[in-house]
């Protein structure tokens, strides 16, 4: 029987196995090859909850989902077409994510009694044997066995041999999707250049997998996914975390300031600390502080000294920074706070994503203490967004919170990366020295650290500058002099001034654009942050179906772009999908008095395209009621 070749517009593959089975690597290698083939794509790894669970158990399952296609791909895909399961637990944990009719590739030796027990399958019979998988086409391969056999003559030890089995899966899928092996082979040679045996073994098994597809008759078809029509240019694949790291280093470079990063580890923010700590040769200071309070405080200290002070955290760690952020508001120093949101409240679900810290970002401090807020909309967009956060902080001497989340941080996509020369410059000038009109150490006219320019921004007067000696602090400041003041009118003036200064930023950020759709339509879907991909996909589909719905995605959440109100008032219905219990929707309602309606999912997961589409359809016209 001959194998036919089918063309597909998009495919979602999910690799699932035990933490030890190397599914993350398998997934990212397939991703790289796929990227090189010119597909658009989006990936999402899912790690087990913080603690490493015993091998073979459901909590121990680690998976990696890849969605790629010849069309624009903006989400990791709702349900997958192909599910690879290295053991019973992986099947149990992921079956619900496979579309009916989908393909299961199962490593049979992962379904022995031991594994079935570990996975807590009640029945004695393997799900591969009973008819529980009737709606799927299941391919059973004893991957472990084949791997061992093909490496029978390899000098490697038992464990090392075992570890090669993920390459079989990779090879097999390369065959299924007509992918070349080359880039993976190059990678393996490079990675194990000092461990020839391991390199060879992996490559052998990789090819084994490919040939298995070719020789066995089990598959009736192979698939081709054509190139996507991406903008011409040079691309790389990037995760939100890496994009954030790059954005920070770039902002330091473009402002010609040292980057000081003070942080305390916490999931999922920690990876930024890990990434930056490798960039010492860029003059990056990373300080692992004793806690979040010390972390943000150290960044404030560095900012006082003239550095780009940045701190990062997630969940409860952000709550701890509130007091110090308030100090930065009072000091009017630049400070960037990276909040990689995770499911809360309290410790919550550290490995799950959520958007529930927006209100905290706005109001999570004592007194009236306005700060700026910027939110990235995709893994790659973390670069530009965090760069913007730094620009605003440095050019407006104000704390800025960067509101990302776990989904963006861990997800990846192709990125048409910029070149240094294309990056905008960040304008920073330190207040120059005052030489006391010649005569030394004499007292010159008193220096006024809180005099402002037309943007209401004060001067950045750093230690080491003669004649600028001055004191700042958390007590209310007198206008201009910055001296301590309890004067009632001065306090009101300064409270309003700090707000005006924050609001003034709206003149230095782009106008809000419509991502997709028309001005003055029937319905607009307003989103922020990581919901971008799902919303864009849904709105795109609905418009193709002729529905009058547009998409506006807000990056600048505080202050809002100055044309936002007018834009929003051009629609009859305003729908606001969020991975929280309704936060942006409250801001829009109180700011603009528009009957915005929330669409909320609080499951530690991004919106699925299908479910969101349903919700939006139901929401259309609802506000009229």
């Amino acid at each position: 029987m001959s194998i036919q070749n089918k063309v597909q517009e998009e495919v979602t593959i999910r690799f699932a196995g035990d933490s030890g089975d190397g599914m993350q690597l398998t997934g990212s290698l397939f991703t790289n090859t796929t990227a090189l083939e010119g597909n658009d794509l989006r990936t999402l790894p899912e790690f087990p909850a913080e603690i490493r669970a015993p091998a073979g158990t459901v909590p121990g399952v680690s998976s990696f989902q890849l969605h790629f296609g010849s069309k624009e791909i903006l989400t990791p895909g709702d349900k997958c077409d192909v599910l690879v399961v290295m053991n019973a637990a992986a099947l149990k944990a992921n079956l619900s994510l496979l579309r009916s009719g989908g393909i299961i590739i199962a490593n049979t030796s992962g379904f022995d009694k031991r594994n079935l027990n570990l996975a807590k399958y009640e029945t004695e019979v393997s799900p591969l044997e009973d008819d529980s998988l009737a709606d799927y086409s299941v391919l059973e391969v004893d991957i472990t066995k084949i791997t061992k056999e093909s490496l029978s003559d390899s000098p490697l030890g038992y464990k090392e041999v075992e570890r090669c089995k993920n390459m079989f899966v990779l090879g097999l899928l390369y065959w299924m999707y007509n992918r070349p092996l080359q880039s993976t082979i190059t990678f393996l040679k490079k990675k194990f250049k000092d461990k020839q045996d391991i390199a060879n073994a992996n490559i052998k098994v990789l090819k084994e997998g490919y040939h298995y597809g070719e020789t066995t008759e089990v598959f009736s078809s192979r698939y081709t996914v054509k190139e996507a029509s991406l903008k011409p240019g040079t691309y790389r694949n990037i995760t939100g975390t890496d994009a954030t790291v790059l954005g920070l280093v770039s902002a330091a470079h473009q402002s010609k300031l040292p980057l000081f990063f003070g942080s305390y580890p916490i999931t999922p923010a920690s990876d930024i600390l890990h990434g930056l700590s490798k960039q010492k040769h860029f003059g990056v200071y990373t300080f692992q502080a004793e806690d979040e309070i010390a972390a943000v405080s150290s960044a404030i200290g560095a900012a006082f000294g003239g550095s780009l002070g940045v701190t990062s955290s997630s969940g409860p760690g952000i709550a701890l920074k509130g007091e110090a952020i308030g100090l930065a508001v009072m000091l009017e120093l630049p400070l960037v706070i990276l909040n990689i949101q995770r499911a809360g409240p309290s410790t919550g679900m550290p490995t799950k994503t959520e958007q529930a810290d927006l209100m905290q970002a706005m109001y999570g401090r004592n007194g009236e203490s306005p700060i700026a807020i910027v939110a990235p909309s995709s893994p790659a967009d973390c670069f530009e967004s965090v760069f913007e956060a730094c620009r605003i902080a440095l050019e407006h001497l104000i704390p800025v919170m960067f509101l990302s989340d776990g989904y963006l941080a861990n997800g990846s996509e192709p990125w048409k990366f910029p070149q240094t020369k294309d990056l905008t410059e960040i304008e920073v000038t330190f207040e120059p020295a005052r030489t006391n009109n010649g005569q030394e150490n004499g007292d010159a006219a008193k220096f006024l650290p809180y005099v402002r320019d037309e943007r209401f921004v004060r001067s950045w007067s750093i230690p080491g500058t003669q004649g600028l000696e001055h004191r700042v602090g958390g007590l209310e400041k007198e206008d201009e002099t910055g001296d301590v003041s309890y004067d009632p009118d001065n306090h009101e003036k300064m409270v309003k001034m700090r707000e005006a200064k924050r609001d003034k930023i709206s003149e230095f950020i782009p106008l809000q654009e419509i991502d997709n759709g028309v001005e003055n339509g029937e319905t607009v879907v307003v989103g922020w942050g990581s919901t971008y991909g799902s919303i864009r996909t849904v709105v795109h589909e609905l418009r193709q179906e002729g529905v009058d719905v547009s998409h506006i995605h807000i990056r600048y959440l505080s202050p809002f772009p100055r044309n936002l109100e007018t834009l929003l008032k051009g629609y009859d219905t305003v729908l606001v999908p969020e991975i929280n219990n309704g936060q942006l929707v409250r801001l829009l309602r109180s700011e603009f008095m528009i009957r915005a309606k929330g669409i909320n999912k609080i499951k530690g997961r991004p919106f699925g395209v299908e479910e969101l589409k349903e919700e939006i359809k139901n929401g259309i016209g609802s506000s009229v009621a």
Binding site: H281, F287, G301, A324, E469
Partner: protein, 358 residues
């Protein structure tokens, strides 16, 4: 730092050579009126600091005072240097960020017993452990002054204060033992009422490379007057206080008639008059001997029954060299630059693997 930044540029325009300027103490007093209670010990400390600054050979603009919150913490406002009156207990963390990124500065932390040993105790011990090259002046008045008189972690057991009308129950910290327990590299004590010694200790603190922890007994005349009278009062001081000099025997008393010797691990007070013992028999102070320094820091609690009260030591109890955190961080950056060359942003942006879309 080998890497050129706006900061390095900015500092180049600095007038004439560092530390060459001549100052008088008044060059260090700001235009703010000092707002401590009349008779507060903080005044004399301020005076001594203002007197010492011109002596340390650092340009005024290169000096930064960072405080937390408290009466003591008002200090920076009165110094005509750079300064930050930050938030309660966090000065060590802020100073760490500043010193690491600006090793060229002389950073002074001003803190109270509540600021540093209550809310700020974590940052306090971490600072000592890391040995960041800053000077910490701990104004210990055994009370919360600014909030009007609650007991602090250094108040003696049984203190009746606003928050402990029936007497405090918790056992107080021994700040010097705590500092040694946190592996501090410079541990010293002085008092507001001995200006000369205070100045010497400020000098020593400045000279020490690493975190200099200088505890200053400071009288809060309003809420805890006389807490340290035994040591500060001219009459009782000779009996109750002992001044330490590196390499010198431990002698004290009005006419240095008493000394301290070590009987094995047990220190004992001996008389130098009754011919029983001479200076040679005494314990000679060695700032570098951790065990001895620890023993000295233990001249603190009331003596166990039968044992005699030891005099309270003033001076540098302990001083050793250990690599500083701030230096280490900067070395690591320099090393990375040496080894890999200064980072090329375009390489970083490009990453390990790229592809073309035509």
């Amino acid at each position: 730092m080998t890497i050129e930044t706006k900061i390095t540029e900015h500092l180049k325009q600095k007038e004439n050579g560092n530390g060459e300027k001549k100052y008088s103490s008044k060059d260090f007093s700001s235009d703010q009126d000092v707002r401590w209670c009349p008779g507060c010990g903080d005044y004399t400390i301020l005076k001594q600091v203002q007197k010492t600054m011109p002596e340390i050979g650092v340009d005024r603009e290169d000096i930064v005072f960072i405080s937390g919150i408290g009466c003591a913490a008002r200090f920076p406002y009165y110094m005509d240097t750079f300064g930050m009156h930050s938030i309660h207990g966090r000065a060590p963390a802020i100073s760490t960020g500043l010193k690491v990124s600006r090793p060229d500065l002389s950073v002074w932390i001003i803190t109270g017993d509540g600021d540093s040993l209550s809310i700020g105790a974590n940052h306090f011990v971490q600072l000592l452990r890391r040995n960041v090259d800053v000077n910490l002046l701990l104004f210990n008045n055994q009370i919360y002054g600014l909030t009007k008189g609650q007991y602090s972690p250094t108040s003696p057991e049984g203190s009746t204060t606003k928050s402990t009308p029936f007497g405090s129950i918790d056992h107080p910290f021994n700040p010097l033992s705590l500092s040694m327990g946190a592996d501090g590299t410079f541990v010293a004590r002085t008092m507001d009422r001995d200006p000369r010694h205070l100045q010497q200790m400020l000098q020593r603190s400045h000279q020490h490379k690493g975190t200099s922890m200088l505890e200053i007994y400071q009288n809060c005349i309003v809420f805890n007057d006389g807490a340290f009278e035994l040591f500060t009062d001219r009459k009782t001081r000779p009996r109750e206080a002992i001044y330490l000099e590196d390499g010198e025997p431990l002698v004290f008393g009005k006419d240095n008639e008493k000394g301290i010797r070590l009987d094995g691990l047990k220190p004992e007070v001996v008389s130098l008059e009754d011919g029983g013992y001479s200076k040679e028999d005494l314990w000679t102070h060695d700032e570098g001997d951790k065990t001895k320094s620890y023993l000295l820091s233990q001249f603190f609690d009331a003596p166990a029954p039968g044992e005699t009260q030891m005099p309270r030591p003033f001076g540098v109890l302990y001083a050793v060299e250990r690599p500083c955190y701030d230096e280490g961080v900067n070395h690591q950056i320099d090393a990375a630059v040496e080894q890999k060359g200064q980072g090329e942003l375009d390489n970083l942006l490009q990453g390990p693997e790229t592809w073309e879309i035509k």
